[in-house]
Every structure is written in C-alpha cells, then in structure tokens.
Amino acid sequence: MNTSAPRKAFNLFRVINIAGPFLGLLLVLGLFSLDSEVRPYLYTGGNFKIILTQTVIVAVGALGMTMIIVSGGIDLSVGSAVALTSVLGATLLVRGYSTAATVVLTLLAGGLIGLVNGLVIAGFRMPPFIVTLGMMGVLRGSAKWLAGNQTVNIPSSAPLNHLMALASPTQLFPLPPGVWIAIGLAVVVSVVMRQTVFGRYIFAIGSNEATARLCGIRVPLQKVLIYALAGLLFGLAGLMQLSRLTQGDPTVAIGLELDIIAAVVIGGASLNGGTGSILGSMIGALIMAVLRNGSNQMGWQNFTQEIIIGIVIIIAVGLDLLRQSRMKT
C-alpha cells in the first residue's frame, strides 16, 4: 500500500495537468447550475450561443497571445489594437471601401502593429512588457484621433455585421460565422504550434532563449514573426468587435488584454514561457465567458463579477504552481 499511494497521487496530478482547464469549465458550469432559478436559462441552446459569441473576441486574441506568452513574451497593447482596428474598419466602410478591401486592410493594419512591436522588441532587445505598454497608449490615442473622439457608425446593412449576428436567437444553431472562424483558426494555430518547425521554435525560445540561439535558431526573426502573426489575429478580433457593436468605438475593449492573458494563463500557460496550449487557452476563454454570463444570469452586479474573475485567476495560477511543484518531485 505504502509504495502504491504516491504513484497514484502522481498519476492523478498528471490527469489534472492534462484535463485541468476542462475540469475548471465543468466546475464553473456546475456552480451556476446550483441555483434552480438560473439553471433553466443557463442550459439553453440560445444562451450557449450567446456564451460562444461572447467568447469569440477573447478567444481569437488568445490565439495570438498564446504564441506570444509561450515564446516568453507578453503583449499589453491588444485592447488598444482591437479598438484601433475596429475604428479603422468602420472608417473604411463609411468612406465607401468594399467589404473585402476593408477586411484585408484592417487585418494588415493589425499585422503591421504586431510587426512594429516585434521589430522594436527583437531589434532593440527591449522588454516586451515595456514596449507593448507604450504601444497601448500609442494605439489608443491613434484610435481616438482617427475616430475624431467619437464612435464611427456603419450602415446596419453592412455584410460585416453578419459576422457576429445572432440569427434565430433561441436555438444553438446556426452559430454566427465568427464562431466558426474562431474554431477553424484555433485548429490551424494549434497545428502550427505542434507540427511545424516554427511552432516548436516558439516553445524553444520561451523555454530557454540562450539555448535557442546556440542551436542556430534565428531568435529575432522568429520573435518578429510571432508578434506579426499575433497582430493579424488581433486585427481579426478588431473586425469582430466592429461587427458586434456595428460601430467603431475608440474607447472599446479597455482591459481586454487582461482578459486574454487571464484566459491563456487559466489554460495552463506559464508567464515565464515554454509551456501552454491552444486548446487550454480556448477553454480558458470559455471559462471567462461562462463566468460573465453566469454572473449576469444570477443578477450579480458588475463589481461582483470583477471580484470573482480576479479571484479565479489567482486560484488558477496557484493551482498551476502546485501542479508544477508536484511534477518536479
């Protein structure tokens, strides 16, 4: 008995390690269903559709953020980047650009923002925290400037609005196209991170940058690529934000970067780099959305939600530390 007990515990921890974020999601869903008044509303197809749609923006951002955090970096400018790209998209539409041209230009703008972040971080060897903190202000200011300090409304007939529109709101299907896009991209980014050399270099750089350099990996180039790719995804998140509000709002998505970082960390990534997974981050994003949705259903005030989400993040990171210390011994 004595010899089998620690081995069992170790295996249990391995299971938690893999299934941790899933268990967290089930736990959150289970807690909200304790209330018999909320339960019938929570578990409807229509509500799940709302949850998924609310998840999309954080999820798409978390795809890029996962790459960045696994590589040992951080990006604090996401919220501002989303605001700027959504204002840009709206402005382009209002000025009569076609939907296709708007989409392409907005995505490129996102990629360009990421490229600048990456070039400054890799080129001058500056800490990503500082560079993107500065960028956060630059982009937010640019968004307000571009929008002339007010919202830019787009025509309600614009095709872009369908991206996040909830047709037949009481049923789960059809899901808005944005949800499918997010799921598809999650699969693509996950495969890139697991199956391509570029993806494995992201892990190598985050795990030990000096080693990566010794092994001939062109670390600066890889970093620029990571931030630029993530920027493209943040541009897409901006388009989704635009579609959801049907307007470009320069003050939108304040603090979004923290939601995204929280989703990635809840999903099992270490802020020190080297570990993390797309699947985990997606579940993390879902947990955040379920928490918000459930709190609304319970009729809790906004400040209660903020307190709860803050506590959840601390618990998630605490569990992660416990998990790692168990793995080592």
Binding site: Q195, T196, V197, F198, R200, F203, A204, G206, S207, N208, A210, T211, A212, R213, L214, C215, G216, I217, G274, T275, M327, K328
Partner: protein, 513 residues
C-alpha cells in the same frame, strides 16, 4: 580519379583536423587572445588548460562562430575555417558542449537533441525521422534508457548532460569541444563520460577538452596545450607531462605549496550539531566545530552536505536534532538571526544564490553589514567604496573599481567577492559550500591561503568539498556524508583518499570495497 582520391586520403591523414596559428583577438583595449597556436589531430583528445581569464572562453567563441579573430588563421582539415555563427560552425563539423547546461527545460529529450536541426519538409516536422535520429544518437552513447518523450527537466543532471552530448553528435561532427563537462557530475557519471569520450575518439572524432581538474586531464588526454594570459605557452604529450610543471606554466610561477598550513590551535567549541535532520536530508549529522578549526565534509553530490549547511543556517526547515552555538541551544533560527550570531554561509551556487550579479562589488561586499557605513540609516557611498576597496586589496580581487558590476568578473574573482562579504560581516563561524568550484588554480590557492589565515585568527570553518586533495590538504578534521548520514569526524591524519571514497559510497572498510 582513384589515385587522386587516395592522395587526398593520405593528405587528410597528415593535415591536422584543426589548426589554430597565431590567433589574436581584442575587445577594445583588452587583449583577450595575444598569440594562440595549437593543432588537434583526427581522433585525438586534446586538453586546453588555463586559469579563468586565460582566454579559453574567447577561443571557444571563435571556434563556435560567436566572435571572429582579428588576426591569425584557423583551419579545419586544411581549409580556412571562420564560422559566422553557431549554426555554421555545427554544419562545418565543429560541435560545442557548454559548461552550463544549455537545454530547453520544457521540451522533451527528443526535441532537445534535434533542436535547431529538426528534420522537416517545407517547415513541416517529420516526427518519425526525428525520433529515429534522436534514438540513434542516444544509442551511440549507450544510453537508450533515457526516455525520448520525457521533459528534459525531469531527468537528472547527468542524463541532461548525455542529452547535451547527443545533441552535439547530430550531424556527425569532426571536432567536439567540451567545456568543463565534469564540473557538475558525480564520480560514476564522470567515468561514464570518459567512456563516451573513448568511443568518440575511436570513431575518429577529435575532442577538445577544457577542464580545471588536472588529474582528470591526465587520465583522458593524448596531448595538452597550456594557455596563460591569452597565449599558448606550452604544448606536448600528456603522458610525458608532470603536474607541477603544468601548474607552473598555468600560473607563470611555481606554487611551492598549494595547500598551505598555518600554525593554529583549536579552541573552545563554537558550533555543535546533535543528530541534525532536515526535510529529507540530512538524516543524522553530528559534529563539533571549534575555534581555529577547518572541518571538512566530504561526500558524493546529493549526499546531503549542502542541505546540512542550509538547515544549520536556517534556510531549510530542521526536522529533528539540536544545534548549539557557543554551547547554548539555538536550533531553530532564521538566516537573519544566524548572521546576527556571527555565522556566515557561502552558497555553492554563486551565480544563482551567492551574488547579486548585476550589482556592484561594493554592494555585494557590504550587503549584510551596512551599520558602520551609514549614518542615520543613509548609506554613505564614500565609506562603502572605501570598505569595498579594502577588501578588494586584501583578497586580491582583480577588478577596475568597487563600482564595477560583479558579472564582469571571472569566476575566481566573483568567488572572492562572495567570500569577502562574510569577512566584511565579521562572521566567526563560516559555512563554506564548495568555495573552489569552477575557479582557476591561482584563485584556489589564494582561497586556501585565506582559509588558513582565518583559522589562525580563531575563526571556525566548515568546508564542504567534492575534491578530495583539497580536503586532505587544508582541513584539520574531516567527516564523510553518505545518504544523509555524517560519519564520525576524525583528524585528517586518519583519512586517505581511498578511505574517504569508501565511506562516501557507503563501504565502511576500504579493504572490502
């Protein structure tokens, strides 16, 4: 054509695998390499010996492509060899194994072995091919037992080093350069490494081996080159060399006595452990340390020596036993209380724990005792610098200025700074954990001399070391730790290297071992 090929083969047998001639390299005003020349033949194990700062690391960086030489020639198989970066050097057949392990801790064994050279098509990983290559590399080292899927940080240090070597073997290198590979290995793992080096040599791979352990060099090397102050001062066959001669070349002067003995007398007991036990190690450690005594603790890595010192100093929890300081019970104390009581600990890991690397010498030296340097709680820079300068002079620290950052110093000088902090603190009980690890012979001799002087002043020293000659050379008494249990502490005259080794591996009687 056939004749031409044969001629070429004959030629490659004569042409040395690697030749450096009159290589020079300066950084600003510092001349790191003044004139270095040596040759390595195919299948030869060539050791580079020299103090820290003699230019070995600059030499390595030139061979690995991190730096380009200012003058002189480097040839690989008769062709000029000036690698532009580490990848280029590797592809040309020169692989490097660094002193500090350079693995990506979160990645698997397999991923680490092929890192940077993943078999891939259009950026798409070929996993089965990668697995095959990694397994092949481990098989060549006779270490198929290491699981390829395990995260590399879950393996032991020795296994991590095997992974590191396996990585160097990818791509059939012609020359493998090893920098202090045994500094973190146990005796058994060191033997294993030597066997691997033997197999590499049989395959015709040339090995350039850098080490401070002269006895070790003597065992495995065919030839040696001694570097001093950026110059190659001697080269020859290892079999014909004498150690005292090599040491003299290294330091440029004869060290008449590496292990000086100062006249000293043991006084009152100042520190006593009675069956000291920590969380998992030590299990039972008992000793009595007196004024003016240097008490050595020998043992294998992982035996619990470091843990004993840490528990005693209050860094780890004490689970059982009693600690007496100056004959009064003082078992559970914080490090702050220990320092206040005149005890000082020198960490075995000066980079991670012992020093604030990016702070100045002055800050590092005076950290634990600002009292005499400050007025009304404000530190007076002038007095701090003055105090630091005094210690730098006394300890012969080679640095420009007390304001210089510690990470610009060589390992030996860093260690002197770490030791200097204990002296500035006026500690009378010194717990020194591997104080001479990874530093050059000259600095070692200075540290031995200093320890002798301190003991003669009546200070009490516990000296943990894995290097038996130095323990036998400078200690008054020695105890051996094996699996968490400390043997009886006996006068040094009763110990021999064989007896210590036997006790360290758990054989009480050397005749039975």
């Amino acid at each position: 054509m056939a004749i031409f090929d044969e001629l070429m083969d004959a030629a490659t047998l004569i042409v040395p695998r690697l030749r450096m001639s009159a290589v020079r390299k300066s950084f600003g005003a510092t001349r790191a390499l003044k004139n270095v020349s040596f040759e390595v033949a195919r299948g030869e194990v060539h050791v580079l010996i020299g103090e820290n700062g003699a230019g070995k690391s600059t030499l390595m960086k030139i061979l690995s492509g991190a730096h380009q030489p200012d003058a002189g020639a480097v040839e690989l198989d008769g062709q000029p060899f000036v690698p532009a970066n580490p990848l280029h050097a590797r592809q040309s057949g020169v692989a490097m194994i660094y002193q500090e392990l350079t693995l990506a801790p979160h990645l698997s064994v397999e991923e680490n072995i092929l890192l940077g050279e993943e078999p891939a098509r259009c950026g798409w990983l070929n996993r089965s091919r990668r697995r095959q290559l990694a397994a092949q590399a481990l098989a060549e080292l006779h270490h198929q037992n290491i699981p390829l899927d395990a995260p590399v940080n879950s393996r032991s240090i020795a296994e991590q080093q095997i992974v590191e070597i396996a990585r160097a073997l990818i791509g059939q290198p012609k020359v493998v350069i090893m920098d202090e590979p045994t500094s973190s290995l146990t005796q058994a793992d060191t033997e294993n490494l030597f066997a691997i080096i033997g197999r590499l040599r049989k395959r015709g791979v040339s090995v350039i081996y850098i080490s401070h352990f002269l006895e070790e060099c003597q065992r495995i090397a065919d030839r040696y080159t001694v570097l001093r102050d950026g110059e190659s001062v001697a080269t020859g066959d290892m079999a014909k060399a004498s150690l005292p001669q090599i040491i003299q070349w290294m330091v440029g002067r004869a060290i008449s006595e590496i292990y000086p003995r100062t006249p000293r007398q043991m006084g009152k007991p100042v520190l006593e452990w009675r069956a000291l036990a920590g969380r998992s190690k030590p299990q039972a450690a008992s000793l009595t340390l007196h004024e003016g005594e240097i008490l050595g603790i020998a043992g294998l890595i992982g035996a619990g020596r470091t843990e004993s010192l840490r528990a005693c100093f209050g860094l780890d929890r004490i689970r059982g036993g009693v600690v007496l300081v100056r004959s009064s019970e003082a078992t559970h104390r914080t490090p702050g209380q220990r320092l206040a009581g005149g005890m000082g600990l020198l960490s075995e890991n000066r980079k991670a724990e012992g020093l604030m690397l990016n702070r100045s010498l002055a800050d590092n030296l005076t950290l634990t005792r600002y009292g005499p340097l400050s007025r009304f709680g404000f530190i007076q820079n002038r007095r701090q610098r003055q105090a630091a300068q005094e210690w730098m002079d006394r300890l012969e620290v080679r640095a420009q200025d007390p304001g210089q950052s510690v990470n610009e110093l060589s390992g030996g000088n860093q260690q002197k700074v770490a030791l200097g902090r204990l002296l500035h603190h006026q500690a009378s009980i010194l717990l020194l954990d591997e104080p001479t690890r990874g530093i050059d012979v000259g600095s070692k001799a200075q540290i031995y001399k200093l320890m002798g002087q301190l003991a003669a002043q009546g200070k009490a020293i516990i000296f943990v070391s894995s290097y038996l000659p130095e323990l036998l050379g400078i200690c008054d008494t020695i105890g051996v730790m094996c699996r968490g249990v400390l043997s009886e502490v006996c006068p040094v005259a009763e110990w021999t290297e064989n007896r210590i080794m036997a006790a360290a591996i758990g054989q009480s009687d050397p005749a039975a071992a």
